[in-house]
């Protein structure tokens, strides 16, 4: 039935080779491109991290000059947050969410492609600042007035502004798509309380992006006007207030932290049950605690600003709210542990990464409780203690979960298994390297080492721990090499995976590996949280929904790419003048026109 039905969408153009990828609207190809591009940016950000660690290995080193050092740590932070972790998670969700909910694609496939292309071009745009007078050098949260035209005279900050605007547009469009897809395209019978947990956390994340991103988009516009038009938004001498930037930035910036961790928690909630041979313990509690984190996450932003001189009562309120977040987080952790408790555990690379996530995330979370305590924060604000904390959460947390997801879903995406032996070596190096790099930073912070310093004096006693951290960073680099080697080897020679290599319970394992372009020849009908378990152990074949039509696949389109190109050229114009702005606008409008008139 399927081949006949697919060809039903008759007179459409088909492309092959590179054009097929450039015009694709298939969520799986888009997801793979997201993952590939953000892996590339992860390597770029990782390289920047290595430069930082080499520079700090000993006192008084001069590997980088101070100006370049500032650019490197700014771009390291910006790259890791916006170009690596966030799009890695979005890419995974892009690939998996339609499969997990039993849909054929996202609700708006062309919009999905548009989000991808804006992300890729935005990343290239942001990094091109290195070649055009210097990258931004004001830190990843770009505090005013350091970002003003007076103190950041190169175009670096302008590239940062419009690069982040592009990435903001991209993630808002994609989130819109996720919300509609998740709420409307679930297979029949998949009620909200039957959705896989990764879908749940991704839905909450999509709402977080939709409500957090506009705040930084607005702040960036104000910053640009200050720099180029001469407004006074962050200029105290003109009546403005640099603190406004901090409020607008962290109103985005703190929910962003949950944007980076919630989908990771979703991954853990998928991986642990499968390798413990048990259903997720406390499904509802895990789901609702994600929603709770989403809500409370918007009420904690000023805990980044305890030292700016807010009233004590305001500090206290934000401290309390921040600590309350520990409750839904701990609920998840207990449920994960309870999921494994008494389970028949299969130790695979994916499971190791998931368990490693729990361990490292607990350490990171405890550091967070310290920092949420106002007097302690007064003491360690802007020290390496903060750097250690945030890396435990984002690197030990999100990145380990992303690796767990890749080991878990690689067979589905490629049809081949990753090598388990390499996987275990990768995990060991990753786990040791993470602790070696980031634990000493806590102690360095308590000893008073400020973050972002270019070098330090020899008599401060910071040398041994810094050297240890640098050694850890090299171990992490080795871990990454093992991982990439594993990917390359397994793509070619990996064991064939089959449809369901892990004996999974969710719908993605009900289709082929890799799935056909239409995902499911027949849309499945769902009767529980574990539809595939029902099939395997209930003895009935996977029920399929009644469909009024055959498979309708959206036609490929080049317009999303063209539109993204136009938008990016417009951003160049906002920095360099009217001519690129007009060219970009013309391309943008032409693409929009072409888009609207294209038969879907």
């Amino acid at each position: 039935m399927s081949s006949e039905a697919v060809s039903a969408s008759a007179a459409r153009r088909e492309y092959s080779g590179a054009m097929a990828w450039l015009t694709t609207v298939d969520h799986k190809r888009i997801g793979l491109m997201y993952i590939a591009a953000s892996m590339f940016f992860l390597l770029v950000g990782g390289l920047e991290a290595m430069l930082i660690r080499i520079q700090l290995a000993e006192a008084n080193l001069k590997v980088l000059n101070p100006e370049l050092y500032n650019q490197i740590f700014t771009m390291h932070g910006t790259t890791m947050v916006f170009l690596a972790v966030m799009p890695l998670l979005i890419g995974l969700a892009n690939y998996m969410v339609p499969l997990l909910i039993g849909a054929r694609d996202m609700a708006y496939p062309r919009l999905n492609a548009l989000g991808l292309w804006i992300f890729i071009l935005g990343g290239v745009f942001l990094n091109s600042s290195f070649l055009s007078g210097g990258a931004p050098a004001a830190g990843w949260f770009g505090y005013a007035p350091l970002t003003s035209a007076q103190y950041s005279a190169t175009t670096g900050v302008d590239f940062w502004i419009w690069g982040l605007e592009l990435l903001g547009i991209s993630s808002i469009l994609t989130s819109l798509n996720f919300v509609v897809t998740t709420l409307w395209l679930r297979a029949p019978g998949m009620k909200l309380n039957r959705m896989p947990m990764f879908v749940w956390t991704n839905l909450v994340t999509a709402f977080l992006i939709l409500f957090a991103m506009p705040s930084i988009s607005a702040a960036l516009i104000l910053l640009f006007l200050d720099r180029r038009v001469g407004t006074f938004f962050f200029d105290a001498a003109g009546g403005g207030d640099p603190l406004l930037w901090q409020h607008l930035f962290w109103f985005f910036g703190h929910p962003e932290v949950y944007i980076l961790i919630l989908p990771a928690m979703g991954v853990i909630s998928e991986v642990l049950p499968v390798f413990s041979r048990k259903p997720l313990f406390g499904y509802a509690a895990v789901a609702y605690s994600s929603v709770a984190i989403g809500f409370i996450g918007f009420a904690v932003w000023a805990h980044h600003m305890f030292t700016v001189g807010m009233a004590p009562v305001i500090n206290a309120v934000f401290a309390l709210a921040s600590m309350i977040i520990a409750v839904p987080t701990a609920i998840k952790i207990f449920n994960w542990i309870a999921t494994m408790w008494g389970g028949s555990i299969r130790v695979t690379s994916a499971l190791l990464f998931a368990v490693g996530f729990i361990a490292l995330f607990i350490i990171g979370g405890l550091g967070g409780i310290f920092l949420a305590t106002v007097p302690i924060d007064f003491q360690v604000q802007d020290t390496y203690f903060v750097v250690g904390h945030l890396h435990y959460v984002l690197f030990g947390g999100s990145i380990l979960a992303i690796f767990a997801a890749i080991y878990y879903w690689f067979p589905k995406m490629t049809g081949r298994m990753l090598n388990e032996r390499f996987g275990i070596v990768h995990f060991a190096l990753q786990f040791i390297g993470t602790n070696l790099t980031f634990f000493p930073m806590h102690i360095l912070g308590l000893e008073g080492m400020p973050r972002r310093i270019y070098t330090y004096a020899a008599n401060l006693g910071w040398d041994p721990l810094n050297l240890l951290a640098t050694v850890g960073a090299f171990i992490l680099a080795a871990a990454m090499i093992v991982f990439l080697y594993n990917i390359l080897v397994s793509l070619k020679n990996g064991k064939l995976a089959g449809d369901d290599p892990w004996d999974g319970d969710t719908l993605e394992w009900a289709t082929s590996s890799p799935p056909q372009v239409y995902n499911f020849a027949k849309i499945p009908s769902v009767a529980s949280r574990r539809p595939l378990w029902d099939v395997k152990h209930g003895g009935k074949p996977l029920e399929t929904a009644k469909e009024a039509h055959g498979i309708h696949l959206p036609a490929p389109s080049i317009m999303p790419l063209v539109l993204a190109v136009g938008l990016t050229i417009m951003m160049i114009g906002l920095i360099y003048g009217l001519i690129p702005l007009v060219i970009g606008l013309v391309i943008f409008v032409a693409a929009l026109f072409g888009w609207i008139n294209q038969p879907a």
Partner: protein, 199 residues
């Protein structure tokens, strides 16, 4: 906007584009909230004149508000017309809506000229900075709304839309009403509270 595509046609009986636009508008609300909050925070903090009470009048913005509110009524009328199957009445009302939008922009431009003449620019003082940013970004949204409405009119002229197929009209309408609503907020915060000295 574009025609949406769904891979899952069995779901298409209930169209989800309305959900998409509502979620988008919710996101936009945060965007405008940031600017309007900025205006409120920076009230009375200009280090040099002229301030809002010297240069802003209440009458013209009131007229602008009424113009936009009427344009919302014509938008509703356009939707009602196509629901009743009259495409002609629909595009006539849509054109009226777009025209009222243009009239709003004209009055806005006039106000800008007046303020610049009085020495208020984005770089004159903090009031100028916030005033031009808030109203300018709103005006940009009005322009997008007008283009959107005209695109719907163009489609209608080529024979699109009927009593059973009018969702794109409704979507454009939702956006337009949102832009009106934002203006009403701006009117209250930027003009009314200044002139009536509530705060």
């Amino acid at each position: 906007m574009s025609t949406p595509i769904s891979a899952n046609e069995y779901e298409m009986e209930r169209d989800h584009r309305k959900l998409a636009i509502w979620v988008f508008l919710a996101s936009e609300s945060i965007f405008f909230a940031a600017f309007i909050t900025t205006f409120v925070i920076y009230r009375g903090r200009s280090v040099s004149g002229p301030g809002p009470r010297e240069v802003l009048t209440l009458f013209v913005p009131l007229v602008m508000t009424i113009v936009l509110l009427i344009s919302s009524v014509t938008m509703v009328q356009a939707l009602q017309a196509i629901k009743e199957g009259s495409r002609t009445r629909m595009w006539q009302f849509l054109l009226a809506t777009a025209f009222l939008g243009l009239a709003f922009l004209g009055l806005k431009g006039n106000e800008y000229a007046h303020l610049i003449q009085e020495g208020v620019t984005p770089s004159s003082n903090i009031f100028g900075s916030v005033y031009f940013t808030v109203t300018g970004l709103h005006a940009l949204h009005v322009i997008v709304g007008i283009v959107w409405i005209l695109a719907v009119v163009a489609k209608a002229w080529r024979g699109a839309f009927s009593a059973t197929n009018y969702l794109p009209v409704e979507l454009a309408g939702l956006y337009w009403h949102f832009v009106d609503l934002v203006w009403v907020l701006i009117f209250m915060v930027v003009y009314l509270t200044e002139q009536l000295r509530f705060m």
